[in-house]
Symmetry: C2
Subunit: 208 residues, 2 copies
DNA sequence: TAGATTGTTAATCGATTAACAATC
DNA sequence: TAGATTGTTAATCGATTAACAATC
């Protein structure tokens, strides 16, 4: 059984921000970058940055900081972003169009190979070059294209139904943009991006 | 100074899921709903649900559970979802279209009153009925329409620049969908939805 | 060398979970 | 009444922060 509780989850969530900053340093031909600097830029504590970077296995140099190129490699390897992953996207609406259009995902190994929808008008069309197919073809196309990730962007009411089809197609990782908790087998991992959670946070912060 | 660290943040993030489930119970004319049931549905511990609901001030009845209608009211009031809030959306692209199309936000008090973009082709058009204006009109329109929230959906490279304009327009709450940390005055609150963080989590989970 | 920065070890803080009396 | 469920108080767990020796 794949455990859904990931150790050091908050650290993992911060790594992409570090990576972005470190890539900027690389573009400016810096050979080293210090945790102190990263912390200042992102308004974090230096000790937190050092602890977070430590999970990638990188070792820094006192007084200099971390070597930029090896640090980038270490973060990308830790996140498995140096490996290409094929993804299908279920629901070819505006959110799907936004996601397939993010070039950043591609540079981090995420490759959209097909989109699926039930609306007959969309068939034969594409979103940012990703062809749209009928949902019924999900299993066949998944095998054919070697997809290992499913991105779920359908209306919430169809979330579970689509999740079942995704599981049926043999996909073991779901990126769930609906606000529904999915019932899934233990060997399928799921990352939920719940926008209503974020909105709730914003509302509470506004009242402080 | 508004503190950005919110106590009980994880609890707040879970409340919307509870609310959704409790609304379903209401639709089925249940008078009470137990924390035990909510926990089972969402794969959480009952004690966690009880603790979370306690922050809303609701009091349950032993053996029965929580009274559904007062519980809904308590959660909505705690999240300030019983108050209408006007929002502008900066960047009228696919993500903006997706967000303005979510009916759920409207039922939670979020009312999009205007969209802003710099592309001249988009002027005079609308997304889900929300008119698109030139970014230069942000300050004027914000005052005119009484907007208190800005939703930022522009490409990352323009994030800080747009944030500065949002601050200039007098808006004190930003829902930031770019992957950039924004530099903001202390009295402006910001909720960041970092999709690359979520993707990082999914990647690490896949490797377990 | 002097001093900034690292990595380690310990302390603190906050969130989750456990135990259990109260109660409808 | 008996038993399921609540709310409180305490224990555990994990993440953040602090202190500081090591070092380039």
């Amino acid at each position: 059984m794949t455990r859904q509780k990931i150790p050091a989850a908050p650290s993992i969530r911060r790594l992409p921000s570090y990576l972005h900053l470190i890539r900027q340093a690389e573009a400016e031909d810096c050979e080293f970058i210090s945790g102190t600097l990263i912390a200042k830029e992102l308004h974090l504590e230096p000790i937190q940055v050092r602890k977070d970077l430590a999970i990638t296995g990188i070792v820094g140099k006192p007084k200099r900081g971390y070597p930029v190129k090896p640090l980038i490699a270490a973060i990308e390897h830790f996140l498995d972003w140096d490996n290409k992953k094929n993804a299908v996207i279920i629901g070819a609406g505006n959110l799907a169009t936004a996601l397939t259009g993010y070039q950043e995902f591609k540079t981090h190994g995420l490759n959209f190979v097909a989109a699926f929808d039930t609306s007959s008008e969309k068939m034969g069309k594409n979103i940012h070059g990703v062809s749209i197919y009928p949902l019924d073809e999900l299993t066949v196309r998944t095998k054919e294209l070697g997809a290992t990730i499913a991105v779920l962007t359908v209306p919430s009411t169809f979330a579970q139904e689509c999740a079942d089809r995704i599981v049926e197609a043999g996909i073991k990782a779901i990126w769930n943009f609906t606000n529904r908790k999915l019932n899934l087998p233990d060997d399928v991992v799921c990352q939920r991006e719940d926008l209503t959670s974020g909105y709730a946070m914003l509302c509470v912060m506004m009242g402080e």
